[in-house]
């Protein structure tokens, strides 16, 4: 089927509300205020809260796992690709390396329209470690269900682990390198 056959990813059951969304909702509320006397104190309050709301709008590297699962489970290759840096690397469960966001997106587009078209990925545990304030190493264990073969037969669930190396540029965390491995049981 292609070099990405057998590659696993993740799924999210529901897009949970993020801190970003909450922050924006607060800001949006200001537009509804009519009186200048209400706006001024609110403006002051908003300014005072600025550091806190800026922080709230900067999602941590762990949010990439949520984004990964969401894009995988909605089979949205474009959203999936947007999680990666332009020069990102990805190594699939078959040990095949794909270079660049465009390639990663294209391979997952193939997967999402074929063997992963009804597949669901779930994380069973995430760890995050900062190796520098702007470089994070993220791991998550996953469980994949609903993968189909060429005849449309549903495969048994499988498990594995993904390493993500994320970098922060202009307040945005993106995946710059990642690798996936199936978990094997010793013979």
């Amino acid at each position: 089927m292609g070099q990405f056959e057998g590659s696993g990813s993740s799924i999210l059951t529901a897009a949970r509300p993020t801190r970003t969304v909450e922050g924006l909702a607060t800001a949006g509320g200001v537009t509804m205020i009519k009186s200048i006397w209400t706006i001024v104190p609110l403006g002051v309050l908003f300014s005072l809260n600025l550091p806190a709301s800026s922080a709230a709008q900067t999602l941590g590297p762990d949010a990439l796992v949520d984004g990964f699962l969401r894009a995988f489970n909605t089979h949205d290759a474009k959203a999936f690709g947007s999680l990666f840096t332009e020069d990102a690397d990805w190594v699939s469960v078959a040990g095949i390396r794909v270079k660049g966001r465009a390639g990663i997106q294209a391979e997952h587009e193939k997967a999402f329209t074929t063997f992963f078209k009804s597949a669901t990925l779930a994380s069973t545990g995430t760890t995050v470690r900062l190796v520098r304030p702007d470089v994070a190493v993220v791991h998550f264990n996953w469980e994949l269900t609903g993968q189909v073969d060429k005849e449309g037969k549903v495969a048994a669930p499988r498990r594995g682990v993904i390493t993500i190396v994320a970098t922060k540029e202009e307040d945005q965390w993106r995946i710059t390198a990642g690798q996936n491995t199936n978990t094997f049981v010793p013979p």
């Binding site: 020069d87 690397d89 190594v91 699939s92 469960v93 078959a94 040990g95 095949i96 390396r97 760890t127 470690r129 190796v131 520098r132 702007d134 470089v135 190493v137 791991h139 264990n141 495969a155 048994a156 669930p157 499988r158 498990r159 594995g160 682990v161 390493t163 190396v165 970098t167 710059t176 390198a177 990642g178 690798q179 996936n180 491995t181 199936n182 978990t183 094997f184 049981v185 010793p186 013979p187």
Partner: protein, 173 residues
């Protein structure tokens, strides 16, 4: 108004020059440190396979940072040098006693001055010469510079052929 603009421009130019001078003063000349760092990093696969082939897991685990993350071909995730040592030492006293490997960089790129990401290709062999036990693998490797040494901060290895002798949890027993 004009005066304010002029002051702003002067202030900006002054600040820029200061920043520029500061940057030149503090940062080593990029091509020089990069060439030296690349030279050091080039040795990592040889150090890795050397320690492995001598079954010297102390030397092997010393290639990693104290808090390194390692994911090996069967999906096992280790955290920290101690765990890396214990796991591999056990294997090298047993089933890996007759395993050797060769390793080489496929690519390498820098994320700033003290972090580098690359991929190492591995070929594993059995000393019995049994070719059915030959394996190839590819690993994502994250290196960090700590006290002048480049150490492996994260390592994730995947076999190109699937796990020999292992099975997926979903495979029939």
């Amino acid at each position: 108004m004009k005066r304010t603009t002029a002051i702003s421009i002067l202030a900006f130019v002054g600040l820029s020059s200061f920043t520029f001078d500061y940057a030149i003063g503090q940062t080593p000349e990029p091509t020089k440190w990069r060439a030296k760092d690349e030279q050091t990093i080039q040795k990592v696969p040889d150090d890795f396979s050397g320690a492995w082939n001598r079954h010297d897991m102390k030397a092997y685990s010393d290639l990693f940072t104290e808090d390194a993350d390692v994911v090996v071909i069967n999906g096992k995730h280790m955290k920290g040098r101690n765990e890396i040592f214990t796991y591999h030492d056990g294997l090298h006293k047993g089933v890996f006693k007759e395993r050797t490997l060769t390793a080489r960089w496929k690519d390498l790129r820098f994320i700033g001055a003290d972090v580098a990401i690359g991929h190492i290709a591995f070929a594993g062999r059995s000393s019995s010469g049994d070719e059915r036990r030959n394996t190839t693998a590819l690993a994502t490797v994250v290196l960090v510079k700590q006290q002048g040494r480049w150490l492996i901060a994260a390592f994730h290895n995947t076999l190109l052929s699937g796990h020999p002798g292992g099975r997926l949890p979903s495979d029939p027993k």
